[in-house]
Symmetry: C2
């Protein structure tokens, strides 16, 4: 490979709080890396931005972002990474992004939040975790069930409240003026790729009709498939004629898969980023899904667990199985040639952080140390990990977490251990769901921030799964995955497998994966944890008491 050691590949990982720019060579060696936070972070109830900007306080279920933050942060991150390497050698950009993050925009790419509509909260991008569209999701699901829509089985029978059409319908219903002023609805990742590759709003000349949408985002969050496209006009009209009209008129563009070249970096963007104009820009990928190539996985039967604030667990298989409770089975959804299965937990690191914040502990390391001394089973305390809803397998964003078996002797260490155990049992439940649905799993790979930050969690997880977990050496898995997909888009590798093997896998310059053995607690203790979690889950899934105030 002529690329090795010479050309460099840039991966951009747009997360919930910040963007990471990772520059690597063709053997996976890191040449430069930096991250930059979004200046306004998450715009939620009580945040300074929300208070300064809007007349009314935001509902507690809301989470918005400022798209200009994405641009400002990516410039800062790439330029910071450039202080460590020669950005002039970068030949491609890969982009991963949170999803489903929905941007209402003008046809020239200007986000509505930058226009006269800026004092309308609905004009701002709704972050993936925004939970304001629950009623819309419920209605769209009920309608699809009633009409026996054929695509519904691909999504486990439920349309998630975080997904694309519920979020669009929420705006249509709650702020029709903003909905009418929106000319293009699109995913944040697709919007970003459009900005890099020619949106007029960032100095390019590529009108909306030629923007590139990702099959990954559209397939997992937009009810889209290559064969059938989006849901029928008839279905969407029956929900709301304005939704049918929006789908017909306001979803312009063409579909490409992650790793396919979406376009070339336009000069204006290149100048701001300090990169060479004309280099390849890959089609966007969902951040978690970038973790699969980023973890060096290109084969079937390996569950790639991307563990961060939330958990996203992905599997590739030769066959399509419609598994109840699995939110998306998408052809070519992760890598070309395989069916990609996406499952998830809505709060993992977020739940650990909730305990830390609640207890006023200065750092996770202290809680982890104390929780390690607590016996398996947390001295009778059992948690349910639905602090932000249950994604897989119940697919119910309205469910809420629980702590059961509390006594006066329980302290922060018990809570922490109980929430770690619950999160591990939540993964095991997903594994059972996939296996029961016919999707084989033979190997476990963990990536994302948590595997390095929280050793105890990984040890509990391996014990509960009853199998070793491999932790690849790549520190920034999604960013590495984005870089790999960008390299693929640059044409320097003959296939995804080739790019992955060369940059992250067996032929790369990286050290072997660390293996976490399943021996922290005994198999019997692990069974006890799972049995108790199962009881707690069946208890809580039936009860209105475990739903939020707004349910």
């Amino acid at each position: 490979m002529s690329a090795r050691g010479f050309d460099l590949f840039l991966g951009l990982d747009f997360g919930t709080e910040s963007v990471r720019a990772l520059v690597v060579d063709g053997c996976g060696r890191v040449a430069g890396s930096a991250s930059a936070p979004y200046p306004h972070g998450q715009i939620v109830a009580g945040s300074a931005t929300a208070q300064a900007r809007f007349d009314q306080p935001l509902p507690r279920s809301w989470a918005l972002q400022d798209p200009d933050d994405w641009l400002d942060a990516v410039v800062a991150a790439v330029r910071a990474a450039g202080r460590e390497t020669d950005l002039g050698r970068v030949v491609s950009i890969g982009v991963d992004f949170t999803s489903c993050t929905v941007v209402p925009a003008r046809r020239d790419g200007t986000p509505l939040s930058r226009t006269v509509w800026m004092d309308h909260p609905h004009a701002w991008p709704k972050l993936w975790k925004h939970h304001g569209a629950g009623p819309q999701a419920d209605r769209l699901t009920a309608l699809a069930v009633a009409r026996d829509e054929p695509w519904l089985a691909r999504y486990g029978g439920i349309i998630g409240l975080e997904w694309f059409f519920p979020k669009v319908l929420e705006v249509i219903e709650q702020d029709p003026e903003v909905a009418a002023a929106t000319e293009v609805w699109l995913e944040g990742g697709d919007w970003l790729v459009w900005q890099l590759s020619g949106a007029p709003s960032w100095g390019g000349e590529r009108e909306a009709d030629h923007l590139i949408r990702s099959t990954c985002q559209a397939g997992y969050k937009g009810l889209w498939s290559r064969a059938d496209g989006f849901p029928s006009r008839d279905y969407l009209d029956s929900a709301d004629p304005a939704l049918g009209a929006a789908a017909a008129d306001k979803l312009p563009g063409c579909f490409l898969a992650p790793g396919q070249r979406a376009g070339s970096l336009v000069p204006e963007a290149a100048v701001r980023l300090g990169l060479t104009p004309g280099i390849a820009v890959s089609t966007a990928v969902i951040d978690a899904h970038a973790g699969v190539p980023g973890a060096g996985v290109s084969d079937v039967g390996t569950l790639v667990m991307v563990l961060g604030t939330s958990g996203c667990h992905m599997l590739m298989a030769e066959e399509e199985h419609l598994v109840p409770g699995v939110a998306g089975v998408v052809g070519d959804g992760i890598l070309p040639g395989f069916f990609g299965y996406e499952t998830g937990q809505a709060a993992v690191g977020d739940a650990f952080e909730w305990v830390r914040r609640l207890c006023g502990a200065p750092a996770h390391a202290e809680l982890e140390h104390a929780a390690r001394a607590v016996a398996s089973g947390a001295d009778g305390l059992c948690a349910v990990d639905w602090f932000n809803g249950c994604r897989t397998p119940l697919m119910d964003g309205g469910l809420r977490g629980a702590l059961l078996g509390l006594d006066l002797q329980h302290g922060p260490a018990h809570l922490y251990r109980a929430v770690l155990e619950a999160s591990a049992c939540g993964v095991a439940w997903i594994v059972d769901t996939l296996r029961d649905g016919g999707a084989p799993i033979e190997r476990f790979v963990a990536t994302g921030g948590l595997p390095r930050e929280n050793a105890l969690f990984l040890e509990i997880l391996a014990s509960v799964l009853g199998a070793p977990i491999e932790v690849p050496p790549v520190v920034e898995g999604p960013a590495m995955g984005a870089a790999v997909l960008g390299a693929l888009a640059s044409g320097r590798f003959i296939s995804a497998e080739d790019a992955i093997a060369s940059m992250v896998g067996s032929r790369s310059a990286l050290p072997p994966a660390r293996v976490v053995p399943p021996d922290l607690v005994s198999p019997e203790q692990a069974r006890g944890l799972r049995r108790r979690y199962g009881e707690a889950v069946s208890l809580c899934s039936d009860s209105p008491s475990v739903r939020g105030a707004h349910q």
Copy 2:
């Protein structure tokens, strides 16, 4: 009344952590007041005393005390109170005490923990909240049910794990040597009265056969009644012949009611306390029950809620109703002439303190202030208040607390508000249970420490009860009640009603009760709280997940 303004009356309130000495005159005016902590506090798993004293760590369910602490603390408290007044004018002592706190002793009154058995944990008094006798309580209950024991209905059909015979049986089974070395089993309050009125171990000459036991403690915690005495030898033998033998041989003494004179203060004790030898010592009363006269209540139909670390809610009625779930209906159990109903919550202030400690908040005032700003319903968070088991009406010490509906936005203020709301709903549930069982309730009086310390809790409680709550001006309700009962034992009043009216009620020198109106939240919100608590309670009462690790 010649007593007014001249004679003084001493009330001793032996609580969980400390003893309070209150000196009042015949009009209820406080002449002196002081408290002193028990030097070794509660001896529990991990406490310094337990670690220094015993080979093995104590189980988490255990709670012991050192009886010498009671003596040392009462001397310190009385002498401190004496710095404010002339102890030479004190003509009586009333004693209230935690219950069921069980002391194994020698026939001369020496507690076994002061003997060669001191390195045996079972030789130490088991504090009321000690939960080691769960299996024994279950077995004694099952046996009583199987044999259709007639007395069981008086206790709501269940023998509590905190009660007298389960605790004795626990020692018999787990440390037969200590059980064999025990010559007298008795309540802490009876032991203390014995010490004051002549136990040889504290300088007196009153052998065990002449010690006085309280009808209150025996009736509520010892399955005793005036008509039938203790359970039959046959029943106790069927549980364990050693238990039958202990009941026959190791429960010497006579029974008197609280307010009856148990004896006179012996010279040795008088010297140590700085009091006059020969003054009246009243028969002991359970601390919570002392709160009824202490709150100025001498009539039927008033629920006296003693709110402290736990909650004890007492009611007097003309008739005996055997109410399922009500742990004790005892004739003359509170005041002579009425049936006394005792109900309770195992953790109230303890649960609030658990939240404070968990969250590392410096003081309750801050949490209360923050929780006041949280909407009714705690933004979707619902608690079950069984942090130390459910006393009334489920009578199940093995149940544990829960937090349901948790989301990532919930913080300390939400937890605090949710636990206050749950505790209030727990009281309302008890009120319904009593009313449904035929015991009328027309008025609510709150006493104990919490009504003064936690205004928000009282306001929530009044709203949930849908009725005003009167908070009598007496700061130390149980200690005042003990003083009233002591005064009664001194012969200075013609009846309990007379003593109560004169010292705490309409004829006293005290200001009128403060009234907390039921208007913090709307009746509809209050119904919402109760509905949700009811759902959570029925959810949790069925589930093994809500039991501790040892269940």
